[in-house]
């Protein structure tokens, strides 16, 4: 069953609107009009209410007609519902095509007419994000960042960098849980201070031993843990940190033009990763106050976490995908700061060529120094 989906149309010409990170406004590709997020939100709030009333009336009429044998429809035995495979279908509001997409997709674009669309209900109610950081960097910035990522990597296969065959670039709003809270850390260390003097024919080392205790409370604000099973944790962790100064209350108006996923990993499943990170950092922060000793050996540690608020946010990530030698390579770029990470293939031929070159030249220099000069 297809559901109705939403796209934002230009109030002036009805062309599709896209959110543009550079200007922070929704822009029309056809007439060039621009609108602020607040303007579009106000306009569509009224439209959504009218559409909801119309949909309720239509459903009531359909239910009545199914009970009437004269107007009953053919039974559909063609196959299982998409929902059983974790898929959902929607109608494009622009061209009417039926779109099939993942049950966690919240924003996408129509492959037939290219209109950016938002799947209703995915990001509303209990699942609605608290915050969003809008995209600040565009696709070109992502391509440039990838080229820069290739530079200074002598072991990168020449073919891989020369062709630069990026198969897919998508701006994705990735769901994150943002964990806030405090960590109480109690640490103790065995520390020493030593002094060496000379007495006649003897070297005398005097060592003072101390038991050092430190306790402290370390607050954490919005530690992000990726809440989408589709996104590799390594890639999402590596593009941190995001600048939370630009966090904005969530609005659908930021989504057009980008993909968006809703979370499919729960807070409980993500919490252990946040706990581990907070524990490690609290220990490191408190331990950094132990100074003035020559040796310091941890003796005991106890960390108590006071878990606080968990926010739900969509954060901007450019995903770049390419294939080489039958293997997938995925790169992620922070859509706000431009930090790009992703594993690159290694040419073993170049590895051994560099190895031989460095070895040969160094060996030649050393031979001349040790045997000839």
């Amino acid at each position: 069953m297809a559901s109705q989906i939403t796209n934002y149309k230009c109030p002036a010409c009805t062309g599709p609107l896209h959110f543009v990170g550079a200007s922070g406004r929704l822009e029309c590709d056809y007439c060039g009009s621009t609108y602020s997020v607040e303007e579009i939100e106000a306009l569509y709030k009224q439209k959504d209410e009218s559409a909801a009333q119309a949909a309720a009336a239509a459903e009531a009429a359909q239910a009545a007609s199914q009970q009437d044998p004269e107007t009953a429809q053919w039974a559909d035995y063609a196959g299982d519902d998409w929902g059983k495979d974790g898929m959902r279908s929607y109608n494009c509001p622009s061209c009417g095509a039926e779109l099939i997409c993942d049950a966690t997709t919240a924003a996408t674009s129509c492959p037939y007419c290219g209109n950016p669309t938002i799947v209703p209900g995915q990001l509303s109610g209990v699942k609605k994000p608290d915050y969003i950081i809008p995209f600040k960097l565009d696709k070109q910035a992502a391509i440039q960042a990838l080229k820069a990522h290739y530079r200074g990597k002598p072991l990168l296969p020449r073919v891989f960098s020369a062709q630069n065959h990026i198969e897919e670039i998508q701006g994705v709003y990735v769901p994150f849980w943002l964990f806030s809270g405090d960590a109480d850390a109690d640490l103790s260390f065995n520390c020493t201070r030593s002094m060496t003097t000379r007495e006649g024919q003897y070297r005398v080392t005097t060592t003072q031993h101390f038991l050092v205790r430190r306790s402290g409370t370390v607050p954490f604000e919005k530690v992000p843990v990726d809440a989408s099973s589709k996104m590799p944790d390594e890639n999402m962790d590596s593009i941190e940190p995001f600048d939370y100064g630009e966090l904005k209350p969530f609005s659908n108006a930021y989504l057009p033009g980008f993909l968006a996923n809703k979370y499919d990993v729960s807070i409980d499943d993500c919490a252990p990763r946040a706990d581990e990170r907070c524990t490690n950092s609290s220990v490191r922060a408190v331990a950094s106050t132990v100074t003035g000793y020559q040796t310091c050996t941890p003796a005991a540690q106890n960390v108590r976490l006071h878990r606080g608020k968990v926010d739900y946010a969509l954060l901007p990530v450019w995903m770049l995908h390419t294939k080489w030698n039958g293997k997938d390579y995925l790169f992620s770029m922070n859509g706000q700061t431009g930090k790009l990470t992703g594993d690159l293939p290694t040419s073993m031929g170049r590895f051994w060529a560099y190895f031989g070159g460095i070895f040969g030249s160094l060996a030649a220099v050393l031979y001349v120094l040790l045997f000839v000069l």
Binding site: L155, R198, Q201, T207, L344, I358
Partner: protein, 276 residues
């Protein structure tokens, strides 16, 4: 007639050899070649070593002495075993020939000190600083195992070897030791191969490591607000003081810092000393 002629020749030969050896071992020494005050040797061992020393001394014209004491500080006010060795050498007029050529190995058991003390131009030629170092390495392993007799035999054989090389015109020295030169050549060859190998491997592994940039984070330092940490306890409790004493080894016992030749003190002695 033949028998008489033979006996005369034999008598002349014995007389000649006696006169030669008497000339070679002309000495006023007031100590035997082996003086074992620390009683490390049996009478048989002592006699054997004495005989060997006498033979070598006669053969090469250089006295080869062994002296052992319980504690050299009991015999004199000498601060070091080197000055004690010089006192012994002079007091007992050791050495052979006109310039009292000789070498003496002295052991002091209290602190397990040893000194190789050479005197006379011929001894300095044969026992260079490097040669004494090589000589010490021949007997030190025996002394460290308290195998005194074997150590002294090694010492005497080593002395004979060095004296033989000096007599042949090629005294053992830093620049002429074929074993050291061969070892040095192998070491340099090892450096030429191993060092570039390691550097190349590390450089290539670093380059390979840079190909992987996506890693899971295990800390959350970026999310601690500035000056956010509140320290609630700060205790530095003093427990105790410990002290360790390590005797500083004499630089003279160290090897590997030779530049050839023999270092002779103002008293005309050259030394090699250390611990065993």
């Amino acid at each position: 007639m033949k028998k008489r002629w033979f006996l005369l020749c034999a008598a002349l030969l014995i007389l000649f050899s006696l006169s030669v050896s008497a000339a070679a071992v002309q000495t006023d020494a007031q100590l035997p070649y082996v003086y074992d005050a620390a009683q490390l040797l049996s009478d048989e061992q002592k006699a054997d070593l004495e005989q060997r020393a006498e033979n070598f001394t006669e053969l090469y014209g250089c006295g080869i002495y062994i002296v052992t004491v319980d504690d050299f500080t009991r015999y004199s006010d000498s601060y070091s075993i080197e000055s004690f060795a010089e006192q012994v050498y002079r007091s007992y007029t050791l050495g052979v020939g006109e310039d009292d050529t000789g070498i003496m190995l002295i052991l002091s058991m209290a602190e397990r000190d040893y000194d190789l003390c050479a005197y006379g131009a011929d001894a300095h030629t044969a026992f260079t600083d490097y040669g004494k170092d090589v000589l010490a390495n021949r007997f030190l392993d025996d002394f460290r195992n308290d195998d005194w007799y074997a150590g002294f035999v090694d010492y005497q054989n080593g002395c004979a070897s060095l004296l033989r090389q000096a007599a042949a015109g090629t005294p053992l020295d830093y620049d002429t030791d074929p074993a050291r030169l061969e070892t040095q050549k192998r070491f340099k060859l090892g450096v030429v191969i191993v060092v570039p190998l390691l550097i190349a491997l590390i450089a290539c592994l670093v380059m390979k490591g840079r190909m992987k940039s996506a890693v899971k984070k295990t800390q959350a330092d970026d999310y601690i607000p500035p000056r956010g940490m509140r320290l609630t306890q700060r205790v530095d409790q003093y427990l105790r003081t410990t002290q360790s004493r390590v005797r500083i080894e004499s630089n003279r016992s160290s090897s590997g810092s030779h530049h050839g030749g023999t270092s002779i003190s103002s008293g005309g002695f050259s030394h090699h000393s250390g611990k065993f």
